[in-house]
Symmetry: C2
Subunit: 445 residues, 2 copies
């Protein structure tokens, strides 16, 4: 039996500034190496830090000439104050003057198939995706996914603060929530099962339990279109909540978590934002436009007549966002009152105009990032609406039971992590905001 004394502290963010003048040792991967006449520089990739290491020929001979990107090295030396040019790469003004460099492991291919030391990745998108284990090591890719990780975290933190309970709903389900054919099917011990397109049914059931719930988990859509706006597996950040007075509480909650995410990024991701040149949006008073108003604006501004259409075309989304930014200074637009015919059966119709729903999409910088709305909460309403659509309620009984047991008025939303990351960071294709994107042609790596 071995007793391992408990160290509660594991090495975490090393405080470089506080250790100027001290001896230190780090293990990391070489992001870049620049040999010069007097020696050279290594840029060492540590968890959450890029450290400049000075390797002089006086101290270490010709060692610098043997070092290559993506080697793992253990470096020892003294930390020194420094004036580093590339602020985006270096959180601190500290470098390490190496007294020893030991190679721990090395790549087995030379040269690497893509050069990750250049300012931009010079490769086609499919190559970038094929070589994800390498291309993600590029500083811009790392920055993008550090920001994404922080968005994920900010969503959870802000909702937890606001009394929401995290739930984990099943992804193997007995029926597709949204209906339609865009669902992956599989054999589950001899029975048909499906991959969840959304946690919709489950988060509603859980409102009856906790009042306010959220989830952050993959969803699966067997959509056959290959566009810059779609991936077949993505992270849906969902919330569902009982309503006190009005369905607008859902929109206010979106504003609450957006603001919380945006306010934490400047401190948690300062270097990443700077490297990607991200301009954070302001979120002041919320702009709400009914769908019909958006069609009118688009008609007025562009002459394109989509009035009467039940949804927005991508071009309309772009145009109304541009308009809202210019006219009202808002980069977020909440489009409301989609027609009942185009929304799922569980949507709550507007009591004053039953052909419309108490629903919304949130557009941000030209793209829909959120879909939400109030849901019906009475069992009889579900049955009536399902029958009016030619749906048999029977197969949905294990979901519909929650309404028979009593449900409060409630609503919620789904917020796409990849889409928001893309719009925030100015990335054109949301596939690039998925670590390992899944599309019609891609299941690897």
């Amino acid at each position: 039996m071995q007793r391992l004394p408990l160290k509660t502290e594991i090495s975490s963010f090393f405080d470089f500034d506080a250790h100027v003048g001290a001896e230190a040792q780090f293990t990391g991967q070489i992001q870049n190496v620049r040999p010069l006449a007097w020696g050279g520089f290594l840029i060492l990739r540590l968890p959450n830090y890029l450290l400049q290491v000075v390797v002089s020929r006086d101290a270490l001979g010709g060692l610098i000439d043997t070092l290559q990107p993506e080697m793992t090295v253990r470096v020892k030396g003294k930390l020194a104050a420094a004036k580093l040019k590339d602020k985006a790469l270096h959180p601190g003004n500290v470098e390490l003057q190496a007294s020893a460099v030991e190679v721990v492991s090395a790549p087995s291919v030379h040269p690497l198939p893509v050069d990750t030391t250049k300012k931009e990745l010079a490769a086609a998108m499919h190559t970038i995706f094929d070589l994800r284990p390498l291309t993600l090591r590029h500083p811009r890719e790392r920055a993008l996914f550090r920001i994404q990780s922080e968005i994920f975290h900010g969503f959870a933190e802000s909702l937890t603060e606001a009394g929401f309970t995290r739930i984990c709903s099943p992804k193997l389900v007995f029926t597709g929530a949204e209906g339609g054919a865009n669902v992956f099917a599989l054999d589950y011990f001899g029975r048909p099962a499906y991959l969840a397109q959304s946690p919709q049914f489950y988060k509603q059931m859980m409102v009856g339990v906790f009042g306010r719930v959220f989830e952050q988990a993959p969803v699966f859509r067997a959509e056959k279109h290959n566009t810059s706006r779609h991936v077949n597996e993505y992270i849906s950040m969902d919330l569902e909540m009982q309503l006190e007075e009005s369905w607008l509480e859902i929109i206010r909650t979106e504003a609450f978590f957006l603001r919380s995410i945006l306010s934490r990024l400047p401190s948690s991701c300062a270097n990443e934002l700077s490297l990607l040149d991200v301009k954070l949006p302001k979120l002041d008073d919320l702009v709400l436009l009914e769908l019909s108003e958006v069609h009118e604006i688009v008609y007025r501004e562009s002459g394109t007549d989509c009035r009467g259409e039940p949804d927005l075309a991508p071009e309309e989304e772009a145009l109304v966002c541009k308009h809202a930014a210019e006219a009202w200074g808002s980069e977020f637009v909440f489009v409301t009152h989609y027609p009942s015919s185009k929304r799922p059966f569980y949507a709550m119709d507007d009591p004053d105009r039953p052909e419309l729903t108490l629903s919304f999409d949130c557009l941000f910088r030209g793209m829909e990032i959120t879909t939400g709305g109030q849901r019906m909460h009475r069992a009889a309403d579900y049955e009536a609406k399902m029958r009016s659509r030619g749906m048999d309620p029977a197969p949905f009984e294990s979901y519909l039971q929650c309404f028979r047991y009593g449900m409060p008025p409630h609503g919620g939303l789904g917020f796409g992590l990849e889409r928001f990351t893309a719009r925030l960071c100015g990335v054109d294709n949301i596939k690039s905001c998925s670590l390992f994107p899944r599309d019609l042609d891609r299941l690897e790596p």
Copy 2:
């Protein structure tokens, strides 16, 4: 266009103690109702709070007699200090003296199929699962999943603090990570795809990117055994990290997040712990036993001879946990050095005893809750080991490429959320620690 003034504050944890004497209004579901001669009590379920509401016949006539569990009501009245007997149900010493009660919605079935107002749910497990939208409303179920939500949160918080980056890896994958037949297959646009059994390959690739990564996501196992220790979909909390010196850093990291989770529960879940009578374990010095030592202990204590077996039987897990608690005062046991033949191909063999691996399981209160270890990090080692096992490396190329591009020494672990919740809260069957469990017979709700 409607402008909605931004309220950053959404109603969150209402500070009941600070509002004694004030008028207030709440919407919630009736957990329980107790009519008495002078009026009666409602227990109202609010997000994160159970509020006692006093409904007098003087003020509201016979209203109390019409109220039923699971109705949603809006109550108005004055908050008053109170001495409440059932501390587990009431975080504060405050009740509401109702001046008005309005029924917002009501169950459509009477009586409800299971009585959630009793101290325990009196129903068979399959009924409890069939009626999840109702049975989860029972205070004990709510407490269990509030604790689970906090465990999830604590894992993420502690690792984020320690410089780990959250990743979201795909669940639709091109190959099963662990090998074997226990994998769900599906058709992905004409190609075979699988549901991820673990994020193993992806978290390793991401160590090359961020050094330290974690994930909390569903995994899928098509295991055909129906036991109290298995579900077919569960939440795997995974981490993977580069190693500075030793594979024991992985075990230290587990101790770090366990300690962090255990230290936050008493404040965040005080009432829930009290309701479920949870005794939190202490985590002092860590107890490490080699697998062969465990077999010896079991042999000595029980006479059962499993010496030479490559794994632990459930009875051995129980026995060694009991022994460790008595002999060394530890409820956690780290069993190390499993034989190479029983660990996946990516496991790092012990350089001194190559028939064993630098791997471990963590046992807690009689059950394995974690599997982890160091992984190989050189491409040539992967190819050699795979070939020695008769595996063709070619289909794994999109994973193996990460080692060709250079990888640091690394390792990690997978920690089962449902299993840990079960052992912590004294729940016998881990299915009961899944909101909507999936097993051989169950895909609904």
